[in-house]
Each structure stands twice: as structure tokens, then as C-alpha cells.
């Protein structure tokens, strides 16, 4: 894929919520447009409750928009049924969460291999691939550990390794350092960006931390439901 090719395109995206107990609806995203080229790193900034996580969940296909389109490699996510969307998401869109979201009863290596198993891509080389990824992120000593035995930073690095296993088009990260201290967060982000660059992946990162956002090539901010590019 050429570097300048558009991987993700968001067109006139709207999302509204009904306030529980009333019939009033609240528009959280109001005509969001976004184009992301292959291999770019994009940060989305916003205050708490501004809709940045909502936007991320819509891009990830975890939620459906009230109107507008989300195209990933020219595939309209809205056109898929739930089963197809799950398959598409699993192969093309990976997520890194603020709360790490590892499976507690699986070891580090199993957590990393799991996406390949679930997308029927597992083969004899899968384990080597996982070990290699974990080594690249300095976790080769921890491959047989369980999440409960890891520090927060280590857990997030496992989550990063897991997100790269299926070689997705886009990695979506939701406040990846939100649960880490500054020093650990910086170390994790450094390794994350190095891997993304090395593997030529597109990264969309949602954060309220401007210093983290500045590590990305493009920065957007959600203001009053609209996405505004910051210079």
C-alpha cells in the first residue's frame, strides 16, 4: 500500500444519545469529517465528555452512528451485518484500551496469540511471531506470566503486542497511558510509536494529554461535537 493512500475516511458523522428518563436527545458528534492516510499517526484531543471515545468506538465499529459514514479501505462499516463487521474489525482494526483489557486467566503469550486464534489465522509460526513481538517490546522474560503478575506498564505493552498480531490497517488507542504513571507512560508510548512506525501502521490515538498528542503527526480536537485540526 502506498504511503499516501487513504486508509480511513469519516464523512459527516453524527452521533446522538437519548438522555435516560426523557425523550430528549443529545448530539455529541455533529458532522465529523476525517481522512487518514496510510502509516500516519493521528491524535484526537478533547475534554472529558467531549465525545472523543465515542468517535473512537464508532471508528472501531463498536457502535453505530446516527448518520454519516466510516470507510476503512473503502469499506463502509455501516454496510456490514454484525458477523461481517466482527470479522472485518478483527482483521483490520485493533484496539489498545486505557484499562489494558487482558484476559486474566491466559498467560502473556496466549493473550497475544488469541486474536490469531479467533480470526482463524493461527499456524505453526504464530507462537514465534508472538515471541518476536514481545521481545521487540522487552517482554521476552514475561511470556509465561499471567496479567496479575505484571505491572501496569507491562500489561499495556502486552496489549500493544496483541494489537499488532493480526497486522491491522489501523490501530485505535483509547487513552493508552491513562492508567500509568508519567515515567512508565512515556516508556510505553515510546515503544508503541517505534513499533507502529516500524510496521508502517496507521494509529489513531485518543487522549486529553497534549504532550502525548504532540507525538503524533496530525492532531485534531473535538470542539462542540466537531473535529477541528490543530496547527
Amino acid at each position: 500500500m502506498r504511503r499516501s493512500e487513504i486508509v480511513l475516511e469519516v464523512k459527516e458523522l453524527q452521533k446522538s444519545f437519548t438522555i435516560p428518563g426523557s425523550e430528549e436527545s443529545f448530539l455529541i458528534l455533529d458532522g465529523v469529517n476525517l481522512k487518514v492516510a496510510n502509516g500516519r499517526t493521528v491524535a484526537i484531543l478533547g475534554k472529558s465528555g467531549s465525545g472523543k471515545s465515542t468517535l473512537l468506538s464508532l471508528i472501531a465499529g463498536l457502535d453505530s452512528p446516527s448518520s454519516g459514514k466510516i470507510m476503512v479501505r473503502n469499506n463502509d462499516l455501516n454496510s456490514f451485518d454484525e458477523k461481517k463487521l466482527t470479522h472485518f474489525r478483527a482483521k483490520n482494526l485493533s484496539m489498545v484500551f486505557q484499562q489494558f483489557q487482558l484476559i486474566n486467566h491466559l498467560s502473556v503469550i496466549d493473550n497475544v496469540i488469541l486474536p490469531l486464534y479467533l480470526t482463524d489465522q493461527i499456524d505453526n509460526l504464530s507462537k514465534d511471531k508472538a515471541v518476536k513481538l514481545l521481545t521487540e517490546i522487552d517482554l521476552e522474560e514475561r511470556i509465561n506470566f499471567f496479567p496479575r503478575d505484571l505491572s501496569g506498564g507491562e500489561k499495556q505493552r502486552v496489549a500493544i503486542a496483541r494489537s499488532l498480531m493480526v497486522e491491522p490497517e489501523v490501530i485505535l488507542a483509547d487513552e493508552p497511558t491513562g492508567n500509568l504513571d508519567v515515567k512508565t507512560g512515556a516508556k510505553v508510548i515510546k515503544q508503541f510509536f517505534q513499533l507502529v512506525k516500524k510496521k508502517n501502521k496507521t494509529l489513531i490515538l485518543v487522549t486529553h494529554d497534549l504532550s502525548l498528542a504532540k507525538k503524533c503527526q496530525e492532531i485534531y480536537e473535538i470542539v462542540n461535537g466537531k473535529l477541528v485540526k490543530r496547527k
Binding site: 471515545s53 473512537l56 463498536l62 466482527t86 474489525r89 484496539m95 484500551f97 483489557q101 488469541l114
Partner: protein, 835 residues
């Protein structure tokens, strides 16, 4: 979940294996149980034409056994006994094991020969014990003396022992007084047994014989003909009925375990929401998610089945204790493939159906949860969600019908059970509503606790339901037993007679009255009894069959054999205090010969047989050429526990006066030794008169009630155990769920004691209310059952209620402590680390 399901399945394994073992035993020993290939049975004497048909059968392959009740006199003691009179060829199959008083086994053929040649009698072990016999002793039956020389050790056809009923004496027809059969009318049960040649077709032989009796074209009921396969014997019938009821309790245990499994699986799913969302976000589709969860449930049920089979096999040794005196000695309890298959189906289907609504919740778990940690379960309160419970309700009903072997019993049971559930839910809702409304008037601690209940409605409902239902089950049997015993021992407004007399010939009435008066007592309630056959109902000929035992459930048998049997008619100038007219009008005082004949019917008898006021019934008297048609003009309610002479069918007194009859009567106010002496005197003078000692009869019934209570109580224990297990699981889970909250309270409070008190107190309050609801429901259900099904007075047992209430609360307190102690005793610092 495995333990929860296993507890209920163990009860299933036990009951079902026992049932299967009894069935196998009965099938394997069917010829020995019937002692023949075919039997011809009649309660009335065989007619001359029938005797001809019987005489045409091969004499060597024909045996007879006549049974009736009579008085036996041993020394000065007189008691009622079951007399069996057999001929030379009896038994055609099977064997009777006999021993002498030194316990030496004697071949039955030798004993039989001795009995044919001399007045020797065989007695059952129970009769030996009842008369305290240590050596061969002279006994008197009717006017004849016999030497009770041998004891029956094993008689396969009559293995079931309900104490008094099993006091038996065996006589040979060669030495037996033939006159007895003439005077006892249809109180004699007559069996002719037939052995077929090996190549004879059993069903063809039965059908040929039936055709021969039908061809006689007599105005008499046709003797019943039964093959050995159709005859389950006493073993099959009594145990069959017992296991039917026990199986239904096992269904309740399964239901309770289903509720427990539902709760535990729900907790499991709720605990795994995050994990499910993760694997969904990584690519698992819903279909695979359902498959994984179904596989997990199947695995749990498979583990439970294996564990319950293992425990069940080791528990088989308990069965002889529970069924003491009811089991044939050589009955081996085993698990067959059929039982294993049934238990697997019950476990798989049960768990799937109960957890089906939960699989529905999986639909609502989406990867979005990983970002906003919010799941919309509001649809779970919608009607569509509750539809998911329908398969489990249907499965419960089907299982009830299957295990009770009766559509009628299964339906009644299921309806009653669902009524009980609704009652518990209603009482529970009212209680929680009242607590919620009144919380502002409570002290702060109670107020906080009640707020917890409102916040955590589902868990509270499970807690309530499991405790209330198991408490209800455990308290319902002692309450019913209490009313039953009270009513039997002391029926309201009625003085129980001391002795009940039957088989009195009408010609000896005056003499008997005088004899009893000479002893200082009065013969009371002298009531005639006339044997007849119901020919027509509203002009339609009814089926004529002398059916004896049946394989159906008793309720269905009662309905099925409603009409067409030989019946006992009676008449009274005045109704006794133990009966009253509940519908229709009393007999007309001015009866005129040739006018309308009036009939009075006992209301339950009428209801079972579909008889209505104004219906016409045609009777033919047995042995007397008299036929008449009458109209039902009233229904009576009879207190049968009064032990006074009462009859289902009463005819206007003017109709049957002067017709030869037998009499039944009673004597009151005879106590202790006087009773023994009076019985002895009556027996000396009137050998044909049979006497029931009412006090002893009640003792027998009490012992049967106790035995049934022990059996039912044992099964109910499984339910109780399940209830407590679910309680433990709920407390354990809920406390863990509130670990953070409890930790916070500990940090904020000036002592851990307050936190313990708050947590334990909420479970104690819930316990008190749920136990009370279980108790109240059980009183309501017992009252309804006792009053409207048993139709006796309800006697409230404060002791039973108080004792169970106290005991249950102690257990709940202990479980609350055990279930919550792991979290409660943790130091806050550890809790902080774990979060």
C-alpha cells in the same frame, strides 16, 4: 454450579435407580409374583357356569388362592388376620420359604403335604411376633382349630409389609372350613391361577379365556383375567406409588437446583462481561460465543452427572434404611443405562432450559463495554425475555408427568407447584414493598440495609425464593402429618368406637346384641350391607369387570375403574353423626312400594364416577334375583375417620328391608383388658364375626404415616440442602461483589464490628423474612390440602412452626457467617491491593 446440580441429581439417581430396580425386579419375577402365567380374579363367588369353564382347564396346571379377613384366637387373645387358603398346586411358579420355630428351613412341598393332611397352619413372621409365639401353638380361625407350626420366611407375592396388614395365616383348602366362603359373600378375594404350556401364547390364552367368560352371557360382572406381565403385585404397586411421590420431590429439587444454576450462571456471566467483550473485540462472533457458553454448560452438567452417579452408587446403602420393611430382601438396587440416560437428559435439558434466558443476555454484551463500561440490560425486563422461561416450565411439566407415570397427578402437581411459586413471589413482593415504604421510620442501620435490598433486587429475590421454597417443603410434611394424626386420633365432635365389627350374619343380630349387652356394652350403629352389582347408569350398561390391582397411578385407577364393580349397598333409618347431606334432599318419609326408589351417594364417590343428582342407577343384587332402578336424590359428606359403619351408596330403607344381608356395627367405651376379653368372648360365640380394634388400626395408620414422612422427609432434605447451598453461593458472591464497598466502610468506621454487623444483619433480616414467608406459605398450602383434599380439619402446630423457624434461622445465620467471612475478615489493606 457442579455441586449445586449434583445435589439435585443425586436425589434423582437414587429415586430413579430405585424405581428402575423395582421395575426390573417385578418384570424378572413377574411369574413368581403372580405365581402363575394367568390369573382369574373375582370378589364374588364363581357361578356354576364359570366353575365349568375353570374345571375345563388342565387340573395339574391350575391352582387356587382365596383370601379374606377373619379373627384369629391364640390363647385368650383375638386379633384380625389375613387368611390365605391355597390348594395342592399352589404356587405354580416361585417359591415360599418356610422354617419351623427353631428356624430350620423346611421344604414347602413337605409342609404343604402336611397341611393337606392335617390341620396345620403357616403364619407370617409378623403374626408370630404379634402373638409372641415361641413354639408351635394352637390357633382358632372361625370354628376350626389349627396348629400354627411353621413360619413363612419369604413369600415373593406378598413382600410388602405394612405391619398389621401383613399378619397372615396360610391354610390348605383341604382342611379349611368351606362354609366360610358361603357366609363371607364377596369379602373373599378369589384367585384361580393358571400355568400355560411353554409354547402357549400368553395373550392368546388370555383372550380365549376372556371370550369363554363373555360367551356365558350372565348378568354378572366378568372375572378379571390378568397375565403375569400385567401384574406388578404388591411390590410393584406399593413401591410404584411411593416412588411416584418421591420422584416429584426430586423434580422440585431439580427445579430448585435450576434456580441455583440460573443464579450462579448469571453471576458467572456478569463476572465475565469484560472478558466476553474483549474476545468479541478481538473477533469472536456471537454464534461462537453461544457455542462456547453452551459447551461450558454441557461440561458442567456432564461433571454433575458423573459426580451424582458416583455419590448415588455409594448412597444405595441408605435405601434399605429409608424403605425399611418395604423392600424385598433380594432386591438389588443398581443403575442401568436407562437411568444414566435419563439423568443425563435431565441434567443437559434442565441446565440448558434454565440458562436459556441467560444466553439471551449474551446478545447484549458488546465490545463497546470496554470503552464506556455500560451495558443496556433494560430489554431483560421485557416480555420477550420472560418468554425464554417457557421451555423450562414445559420441561418441568413433562418431567412431572413422566416421573409420576400419570398425566393427572403430574398436571395437578405442576399446577400446585406453580401456584406455590406465585404465592411465594407475591408474599416476597409485598414484604419488600412494605420494607421499602417503611424504611424512613427505621433506625439508620436498618434504613441502610433496606436500601441495599432495593438496590439489589435480583439477588434478594433469589435469596428469598430459594430459602422460602426449601423451608416450605421442609415444614409442609410435619404440619400435614400433625393434622392427619390429630384428626385420626380425635375426630371433631365424634366419639371413636372401640371396636368395629363386620361379617355379622343378619340371623345372629339379636343374639349378638344380647351377648354384648350381657358384657355391659351396647352394639351400636348396626348397619346392613348388601352385595350388588351396578348394571346401568342412566340406562347405559356399564363395563362389567372385576378388576383387582392396576398398574395405573391410584388417582387414575380411581377414575378409570369407577363403574362396573361389585358394590356394597346399605340403608339407614337415620344418618349417623359422622355424615351429612351436602346436596339434594333427604329420603322421602312416605315411600310407597312401586314408587321412585331414592339413592344417596357419598360426594367423593359420586365425583370420581361422574354421577349427578337425578341420575338413574340400576343395581342387581348378588345371589338374590332382585334388580331395581333408582334415582340419586342427594350427596352425603362422610367422616370416614369416625370408624363408624358408613357406606358409599345408601338406598331408601323401605326398598331393601327383608332382603338377606350382612351387618356391620360398632361398640364404644371398651378399654384395655376388657377389650381383649370382649373380643375373645365374641369370637368364641360368633366365630364368623370379624373385629377391628380401632385403636390398633389407628396405630397402624400412624406407623404408615411415620414411614411415609421419613421417606418424604429424606427427599425433602435434598431440597433443603440445595436451598442452603444456593444461599451460601448468593452470600458468597454478593459479598465478593461488594468487596470495595465493604473495604470503604471498614476504613470509614471506627471498628470492623459495625461492618460485620451491617453485612450479617442484612442476611439475617432476609433470612427471617424468607423463612417466615416459607412458613406462612406452608401453613396456607397445608391448610388448603388438609381442608380441601384430605377433607379433614386443619390443626395448627405451633411447636412445629416454632421449632423449624428457630432451627432454620440458626442455619441461615451460620451460612451467612460462613459465606461472608472470607471477605469480612480480610484487612482493608489487602482489599486495596486486590483492587
Amino acid at each position: 454450579m457442579v455441586i449445586n446440580l449434583t445435589i439435585s441429581l443425586v436425589s434423582f439417581v437414587l429415586i430413579n435407580s430405585f424405581k428402575e430396580s423395582v421395575n426390573t425386579y417385578v418384570v424378572d419375577n413377574s411369574k413368581s409374583i403372580l405365581t402363575a402365567d394367568l390369573s382369574i380374579y373375582s370378589r364374588r363367588p364363581f357361578s356354576d357356569l364359570e366353575k365349568e369353564v375353570i374345571a375345563n382347564l388342565d387340573e395339574d396346571k391350575r391352582a387356587s388362592l382365596y383370601k379374606y379377613f377373619s379373627m384369629i384366637k391364640v390363647g385368650e387373645r383375638t386379633q384380625l388376620i389375613n387368611v390365605s387358603v391355597f390348594n395342592q398346586n399352589y404356587p405354580l411358579y416361585g417359591k415360599i420359604e418356610v422354617a419351623d420355630f427353631e428356624d430350620n428351613e423346611i421344604p414347602f412341598s413337605k409342609v404343604k403335604q402336611e397341611m393337606m393332611e392335617g390341620k396345620i397352619a403357616l403364619i407370617s413372621e409378623e403374626a408370630k411376633i404379634a402373638f409372641d409365639l415361641a413354639e408351635p401353638t394352637e390357633v382358632k380361625i372361625g370354628k376350626q382349630n389349627y396348629l400354627a407350626k411353621y413360619i413363612v420366611k419369604k413369600d415373593i407375592g406378598g413382600t410388602i409389609n405394612f405391619n398389621e396388614v401383613s399378619k397372615k395365616i396360610y391354610l390348605s383348602d383341604e382342611q379349611h372350613d368351606k362354609q366360610v366362603f358361603q357366609t363371607k359373600g364377596n369379602l373373599v378375594r378369589r384367585n384361580i391361577f393358571i400355568k400355560l404350556a411353554e409354547d402357549d401364547d400368553l395373550l392368546q390364552a388370555k383372550s380365549d379365556l376372556s371370550a369363554e367368560f363373555l360367551a356365558l352371557e350372565q348378568d354378572l360382572s366378568i372375572p378379571s383375567i390378568r397375565t403375569h406381565r400385567e401384574s406388578r403385585g404388591q411390590v410393584g404397586n406399593v413401591l410404584g406409588n411411593v416412588t411416584r411421590y418421591l420422584s416429584l420431590i426430586a423434580v422440585v429439587a431439580l427445579f430448585l437446583s435450576g434456580v441455583g444454576t440460573f443464579y450462579l450462571f448469571r453471576s458467572y456471566i456478569y463476572a465475565k462481561i469484560r472478558e466476553i467483550a474483549i474476545i468479541e473485540s478481538l473477533g469472536m462472533v456471537k454464534r461462537d460465543l453461544y457455542i462456547v457458553n453452551i459447551m461450558q454448560l454441557l461440561f458442567i452438567s456432564l461433571c454433575s452427572v458423573l459426580l451424582s452417579l458416583f455419590i448415588g452408587v455409594f448412597s444405595f446403602s441408605l435405601l434399605p434404611v429409608l424403605f425399611q420393611g418395604l423392600l424385598p430382601e433380594d432386591l438389588d438396587v443398581f443403575i442401568n443405562l436407562r437411568s444414566v440416560a435419563l439423568i443425563m437428559v435431565v441434567a443437559f435439558v434442565g441446565i440448558m432450559f434454565f440458562c436459556l434466558p441467560l444466553l439471551y443476555t449474551l446478545k447484549h454484551i458488546k465490545p463497546l463495554y470496554l470503552i464506556n463500561e455500560n451495558i443496556n440490560f433494560s430489554s431483560l425486563r421485557k416480555f420477550k425475555f420472560y418468554l425464554n422461561f417457557i421451555p423450562s416450565i414445559i420441561a418441568f411439566y413433562v418431567l412431572s408427568v413422566y416421573l409420576s407415570d400419570s398425566l393427572y397427578l403430574g398436571t395437578i402437581f405442576s399446577l400446585s407447584f406453580f401456584f406455590i411459586i406465585l404465592l411465594i413471589i407475591l408474599l416476597q413482593t409485598i414484604t419488600l414493598y412494605a420494607l421499602d415504604k417503611g424504611k424512613n421510620y427505621f433506625p439508620l442501620l436498618l434504613n441502610l440495609i433496606v436500601k441495599q435490598f432495593s438496590h439489589n433486587k435480583q439477588a434478594v429475590s433469589f435469596y428469598f425464593f430459594s430459602i422460602s421454597l426449601s423451608v416450605l417443603l421442609i415444614s409442609i410434611t410435619p404440619q400435614m402429618e400433625h393434622s392427619l394424626k390429630q384428626e385420626l386420633a380425635k375426630p371433631e365432635e365424634i366419639m371413636l368406637p372401640s371396636l368395629f365389627l363386620f361379617n355379622i350374619q343378619d340371623f345372629e343380630e339379636e343374639e349378638l346384641v344380647d351377648a354384648i349387652r350381657d358384657n355391659g356394652y351396647e352394639l351400636e350403629n348396626i348397619t346392613p350391607m348388601i352385595f350388588a352389582q351396578l348394571l346401568k347408569h342412566n340406562g347405559v350398561v356399564v363395563a362389567h369387570s372385576e378388576e383387582d390391582d392396576s398398574n395405573d397411578a391410584p388417582e387414575e385407577r380411581r377414575r378409570g375403574d369407577a363403574l362396573g364393580r361389585t358394590v356394597n349397598l346399605s340403608y339407614k333409618e337415620q344418618l349417623s353423626v359422622s355424615e351429612k347431606i351436602v346436596a339434594g334432599k333427604p329420603f322421602n318419609d312416605n315411600y310407597q312400594e312401586g314408587g321412585k326408589i331414592e339413592i344417596s351417594i357419598e360426594k367423593e364417590y359420586a365425583s370420581d364416577r361422574g354421577l349427578k343428582l337425578g341420575d338413574e342407577l340400576t343395581f342387581k343384587l348378588i345371589n338374590i334375583p332382585f334388580e331395581f332402578t333408582g334415582e340419586i336424590i342427594n350427596f352425603r359428606e362422610v367422616k370416614w375417620n369416625s370408624f363408624q359403619p358408613n357406606f358409599f351408596i345408601l338406598i331408601h330403607p323401605e326398598v331393601l328391608k327383608g332382603i338377606p344381608k350382612q351387618l356391620v356395627a360398632s361398640i364404644s367405651g371398651v378399654q384395655g383388658e376388657s377389650k381383649v376379653a370382649l373380643q375373645s368372648k365374641i369370637n368364641d360365640q360368633f366365630a364368623n364375626v370379624s373385629i377391628v380394634d380401632v385403636e390398633k388400626a389407628i396405630e397402624v395408620i400412624f406407623s404408615i404415616i411415620d414411614k411415609m414422612e421419613l421417606l418424604i422427609g429424606s427427599m425433602v432434605l435434598f431440597c433443603l440442602l440445595l436451598g442452603f447451598f444456593i444461599l451460601f453461593s448468593i452470600i458468597n458472591y454478593e459479598v465478593r461483589l461488594k468487596e470495595k464497598e465493604i473495604n470503604l466502610l471498614k476504613v470509614m468506621s471506627n471498628g470492623f464490628y459495625k461492618v460485620y454487623k451491617m453485612v450479617i444483619l442484612q442476611y439475617i433480616i432476609l433470612g427471617i423474612f424468607s423463612i417466615s414467608i416459607g412458613m406462612i406459605s406452608s401453613v396456607i398450602i397445608s391448610y388448603v390440602f388438609v381442608k380441601f383434599v384430605l377433607e379433614i380439619n386443619f390443626y395448627f402446630s405451633g411447636f412445629v412452626i416454632f421449632y423449624l423457624f428457630f432451627l432454620m434461622n440458626l442455619v441461615v445465620l451460620a451460612i451467612s457467617y460462613l459465606g461472608s467471612k472470607r471477605v469480612l475478615l480480610k484487612k482493608p489493606i489487602l482489599l486495596l491491593k486486590s483492587t
